[in-house]
């Protein structure tokens, strides 16, 4: 059933494109266009400094989800070596042993590249499934590495976190799609 339209509702300027009225003679700002993905991933890493002091791993790995979402939305925007600097930055805040982010994020970039070469078509469900596999592998391996660093066998505590992560991924991709439209706002004069 198609959604009903309400023609008498006032027009609400929610689209980012409406913020910039003039489009002729304008182009996206190069700083914003190439920097926003990096900044958004690093801000997601800083989500560790959240108001919640968690006693258990409950918060999904937001930075990795944002990283995957950008990679799926714009496959060539992040260079294939982006896992090296971004993973290192995430390691500073995530509490994982330093290096685990670098390894896992670099591996995720390489795996995504190989998946892109094999699957020629993309769809919402397929993207979600691929991201689900990658995020599951990421969480299990990260918990295993943390267990190795603590000298303690892998605690089966990531179940709830994994479910939240899988369920939240489409929402994160929507948010990144919104950021992508902000990224391409024609702000600078040509």
């Amino acid at each position: 059933m198609p959604l009903t339209r309400f023609p008498d509702l006032p027009h609400i300027p929610v689209r980012p494109e409406d913020i910039v009225p003039q489009r002729i003679n304008r182009a996206p700002s190069p700083w914003l266009a190439s920097g926003l993905p990096w900044i958004s991933i690093m801000l997601a890493s800083l989500a560790a400094f959240s108001p919640v002091i968690a006693s258990a791993p409950v918060v999904p790995p937001l930075a990795f989800m944002v990283f995957l979402a950008w990679r799926m939305l714009r496959p060539s925007l992040l260079p294939i070596w982006a896992g090296l600097p971004l993973g290192a930055f995430d390691d500073l805040y995530s509490g994982q042993p330093f290096g685990s982010g670098i390894v896992l994020w670099s591996a995720a970039m390489l795996v995504m590249d190989s998946i892109d070469n094999r699957l020629l078509w993309r769809s919402f469900v397929q993207d979600w499934a691929v991201a689900g596999l990658l995020m599951t592998a990421y969480l299990v391996l990260a918990a295993a590495l943390a267990g190795l660093a603590a000298g303690y066998p892998l605690p089966m505590v990531i179940g709830p976190q994994l479910l939240v992560t899988l369920a939240l991924y489409p929402l994160v991709t929507r948010l990144m799609a919104l950021l992508d439209r902000i990224r391409l706002l024609p702000l600078s004069t040509v």
């Binding site: 800083l46 989500a47 560790a48 400094f49 959240s50 108001p51 919640v52 002091i53 968690a54 006693s55 258990a56 791993p57 409950v58 918060v59 999904p60 790995p61 937001l62 496959p75 060539s76 260079p79 294939i80 070596w81 896992g83 090296l84 993973g87 290192a88 500073l92 805040y93 995530s94 509490g95 994982q96 042993p97 330093f98 290096g99 685990s100 670098i102 390894v103 670099s106 591996a107 970039m109 390489l110 892109d116 020629l120 078509w121 993309r122 769809s123 990260a142 918990a143 590495l145 943390a146 267990g147 190795l148 660093a149 603590a150 000298g151 303690y152 892998l154 605690p155 505590v157 990531i158």
Partner: protein, 306 residues
């Protein structure tokens, strides 16, 4: 939707080399990350200075978050209190009457205690807290349980010092920066706390389970004397934590110990207090032996005779 074809360089030699270099850097990054990972697993303190600098950078955001947390909890508590006002009033009146009687008994006991200590010539060392600070961040997405404190070496905080809130033990400081410090929470599996049952001094030690609860392991095996609701406080053995800080309450009794929840949830603590290490020399020796012997859960709990 077909995937974008912008990875194909065509005949441009320069673009081909660019893509090849990207792959080389990516694989080199993976290998370098694996090397760093091995270094940091073998020597956990290897990158503490970098982490300290990173925490310093994020400190303003963390402090703002900590204030929001306190305000948000106040609002929620106020709304909850409104709904339960009548019931709570009656319950509190009863509790106050009971507490008043207890307080009188306590005063009598305290004066008697003071008199007896004066007779025996015991002088209580006054434990002066080193700093009061907020918890400004935690590793909410990782299986390790760390928190970041908004006070560091500039305030006199050093590695090995215990951290407590008003309600109980939070953890101990493991790394310090100039204005921030990293705290290993009690719920981390690496943190082992020697404790005794508050009621009768039954010795045990407490290990984090990393899921918000803690495992209570008894020193004396045999009949399990634990009961749900038993309170465990630090025993002072091992020299790290001063005795008498509440740590855990038993919620579930197992055949060889129990599972408990924390006496003080770090999420509820508005301010925490850093205390001096109970016996710094013992703490240093403990740290050295732990570093030499690797993570051994009995090193601070069972090994040195609680």
């Amino acid at each position: 939707m077909a995937r974008p074809a912008d990875r194909r360089p065509g005949f441009s030699r320069r673009a081909q080399y660019g893509i090849f270099t990207g792959y080389v850097i990516a694989v080199a990054g993976f290998v370098a990350g694996a090397g760093l990972l091995i270094v940091s697993i073998l020597n956990p303190a290897a990158f503490s200075s970098v982490r300290g600098a990173a925490s310093e950078l994020a400190r303003p955001a963390g402090e703002a978050g900590a204030e929001t947390r306190a305000a948000g909890q106040g609002v929620i508590a106020a709304i909850g209190a409104y709904f339960q006002a009548g019931q709570q009033n009656a319950a509190l009146s009863r509790e106050v009457a009971a507490a008043r009687a207890n307080a009188l008994t306590m005063q009598a006991l305290e004066s008697e205690n003071r008199r007896l200590k004066a007779l025996l010539g015991i002088v209580d060392p006054v434990v002066k807290p080193i700093a009061a600070a907020r918890l400004i961040g935690s590793t909410a997405a990782s299986a390790r349980r760390y928190a970041v404190l908004s006070a560091g070496s500039a305030q006199g905080v050093r590695a090995g010092q215990p951290v407590r809130s008003a309600a109980g033990l939070i953890g101990r400081v493991i790394e310090t920066g100039p204005g921030t410090a990293r705290v290993l929470l009690v719920t981390d599996p690496e943190n082992v706390v020697p404790v005794r049952r508050a009621r009768d001094g039954l010795p045990a030690f407490i290990e984090g389970k990393s899921d918000g609860r803690i495992a209570i392991r008894l020193i004396n095996m045999g009949v399990n004397p634990l009961k749900p609701g038993d309170v465990f406080v630090t025993s002072g053995s091992g020299g790290l934590y001063p005795p008498g800080i509440p740590v855990a309450v038993v919620t579930q009794v197992l055949h060889d110990g129990g599972v408990g929840h924390l006496a003080s949830d770090p999420a509820d603590a508005d301010f925490v207090v850093v205390l001096p290490a109970f016996q710094p020399a013992a703490a240093a020796a403990l740290g050295a032996s732990q570093q030499a012997a690797g993570p051994a859960p009995d090193a601070s709990g069972g090994g040195n005779g609680i």
